[in-house]
């Protein structure tokens, strides 16, 4: 082979290598640009605005009567607090911020439940995006959302009931 063709082959190899790299990136392009990313804070604020506006048009007299509507007074419009509606701790409420809540028998948990059917670290309730999720932490007797046993993280909506042994937890607005 001539020196020219050798040089061409040498450069050709580098070109081929970069062709692979760039086409791999091209395949990933859909992945990089094909997702919708909403910043957590902004999405919530804009929704709060629209909610407040809807509130205003629906009942303009509320502001006049001095009753503060929930959408203005609570920091988290999706859920205000976690209420225990059954079991030994019935009546307890925990205000929800952005921090995850750990439920279990261990003293390090946020919500400590003294129940034989409850594991030391039983389940975890956390905020993902603007949804609350509930995740089982490998408990012995399981966590139930309604009648469904929780394995993977599942969304925990307002009004859903999570059962851990005799304890029932509910998300309140």
């Amino acid at each position: 082979m001539s020196q020219l063709s050798i040089t061409l082959l040498r450069m050709g190899f580098l070109v081929l290598l970069w062709a692979l790299v760039l086409s791999a990136i091209a395949v990933l392009r859909a992945d990089l640009y094909g997702t919708r990313i909403t910043a957590r804070g902004r999405g919530r604020e804009s929704r709060r605005d629209t909610e407040a506006r809807a509130e205003k048009t629906a009942s303009p007299s509320r502001a006049a009567t001095g009753i503060r509507t929930g959408s203005i007074s609570t920091r988290e419009p999706s859920a205000g607090h976690l209420a225990v509606t059954g079991g030994p701790l019935k009546g307890t409420t925990i205000p929800l911020g952005g921090a995850p809540i750990l439920v279990g028998r261990a003293s390090t948990c946020t919500l400590v439940i003294d129940d034989d059917y409850c594991s030391a670290k039983h389940c975890r309730i956390y905020l993902e995006g603007d949804r609350w999720m509930v995740e089982d932490l490998g408990s012995t007797n399981g966590t139930f959302l309604g009648n469904q046993k929780v394995t993977d993280p599942v969304p925990f909506r307002t009004g859903d009931v999570v059962r851990i042994g005799a304890t029932a937890l509910e998300l309140r607005g």
């Binding site: 082959l9 040498r10 580098l14 290598l17 990933l28 997702t35 909403t38 995006g129 932490l137 394995t151």
Partner: protein
């Protein structure tokens, strides 16, 4: 924090096939160039080699279609391309050694290891149908990892090569159990952190707007730190200790989202590194060879000779390289294993080396994307940990060879000569394929 919502799910199996074609072309062209410059080119043999590569690529592709249909389409092509370049380079170094009268068969041995590695990755996909199964073996994995690290210290089993006691000899072959221990530790850390991350993240005093962990929660970090330091002291293996500690700190950060853990971890590592540098002569030597590599007396004493020869090799390659088979990579000791990056830098130049590094970036990015896409906390940590394992290993090796950090002995994943590294890294790819398959699977199918 932000929420990422997928617009559509595409399996990408066809794109994978296209990319696999390119990867095979890279591997075969590399081999052709090497053979031609060694005056060894026989078109029949090259065609056979090409056919073998096509067969391997096709088998992997079909296996993924069958057992992990939603797995990431870019991972396997990127890894196969790296593997092909590595095989060609090792073969090229075999030829160079043969010219100097040293008979080696690194190339053939590495081909066998590659096949075994691919089989292992496919076995992982076939046998592990749900990665959540691994969570049950959290502590088993931790114990296995520790045993793997300690095996080379068992008298009779462990062998010392070049002053490092990291090998064991099995059936006449030397294996590096630390490569497999790495995977076991990632599984252990993921399982441990997924249950304990809230205590690690939320409790503790606040200093300068950062929440620092409580001393009693520092237990696991301290334990891993001590383990890493002991490995460094007794096995004289700086690379592995750096890798393990780095993986753990990275995973802690992913699990807790607290910067303070990174600062505490870096502080502890810095302290350990300085301590080791003052206490142990073999660490001290590495530091001197790194900082004063080009000093006449350091070079002539031989401690920085390998590093400097590698640097000269890369400088000789320049922007576009001397061309595969046209440089002199064999002038660097261990050109086929520890210094394969320098060999590639010489023959492919900066352009080629950047392409190779970009392939690693793509692999790591896919691991991180998988971690974002997985809903399960354990899967997130596992994918992120495996990604960090590859990223840190590449950084430690390439950083060492290019004199960014002190030189430590680790293998470049998929490129360097070495069986354990090849098997362990293909195993990581198998796990990542399974993880990404489950992460990208649409919910209707999963239910």
């Amino acid at each position: 924090m932000a929420t990422v919502a997928d617009v559509k799910v595409r399996t990408g199996r066809r794109s994978e096939l296209g990319l696999l074609g390119l990867a095979v072309a890279v591997a075969v062209l590399a081999r052709g160039l090497v053979d031609y410059h060694a005056d060894f080119l026989e078109l029949d043999e090259l065609a056979l080699y090409a056919a073998a590569w096509c067969g391997v690529a096709l088998v992997i592709h079909l296996a993924i279609r069958r057992w992990a249909p939603f797995a990431d389409p870019v991972l396997v092509p990127a890894v196969l391309a790296l593997n092909g370049i590595g095989l060609a380079m090792i073969r090229r170094i075999d030829f160079a050694y043969a010219n100097r009268g040293r008979d080696t068969d690194f190339g053939q041995v590495q081909e066998v290891w590659t096949i075994l590695g691919i089989v292992l990755a496919l076995l992982v996909i076939l046998l592990l149908r749900d990665y959540r199964l691994l969570r049950r073996f959290t502590y088993t994995a931790g114990v296995l990892g520790l045993i793997g690290l300690l095996l080379p210290l068992v008298p009779g089993l462990g062998t010392e090569i070049n002053g490092a006691k990291i090998w064991i000899s099995v059936f006449g072959r030397s294996l590096q159990p630390a490569e497999f221990a790495k995977i076991a530790f990632v599984v252990f850390f993921a399982g441990f952190l997924v249950t304990n991350r809230d205590t690690l993240a939320l409790a503790g005093p606040k200093v300068l707007g950062m929440r620092f962990p409580r001393p009693r929660d520092m237990g696991p970090l301290a334990l891993v730190w001590v383990a890493a330091m002991l490995v460094q002291i007794y096995e004289r293996d700086l690379g592995t200790s750096l890798l393990l500690f780095g993986i753990f700190v990275a995973m802690l950060y992913v699990a807790t989202e607290r910067l303070s853990w990174v600062l505490v971890g870096l502080g502890m590592f810095g302290f350990g590194a300085v301590l080791a540098g003052t206490l142990f002569s073999h660490v001290q030597v590495r530091y001197t060879a790194w900082l004063h590599a080009l000093d006449r007396e350091v070079y002539s004493s031989g401690t920085s000779e390998q590093l400097v020869r590698g640097l000269f090799g890369m400088a000789n390659g320049g922007l576009f390289g001397t061309g595969l088979g046209e440089g002199r990579p064999d002038l660097v000791p261990y050109a086929e294993s520890d210094f394969i990056v320098a060999s590639l830098g010489e023959e492919l130049g900066l352009t080629g080396l950047m392409a190779i590094l970009t392939l690693y970036v793509i692999i790591v990015q896919r691991a991180m994307r998988t971690a974002i896409g997985t809903r399960h906390g354990f899967g997130k940590l596992l994918a992120a940990g495996l990604g960090f394992a590859i990223a840190l290993q590449v950084f430690i090796v390439v950083g060492g060879v290019t004199r960014v950090i002190p030189l430590t002995g680790l293998t470049t994943p998929f490129l360097a000569y070495g069986g354990s590294s090849m098997l362990a890294n293909w195993m990581i790819i198998g796990l990542l394929l399974r993880l990404s398959d489950q992460a990208r699977r649409p919910e209707e199918v999963a239910a």
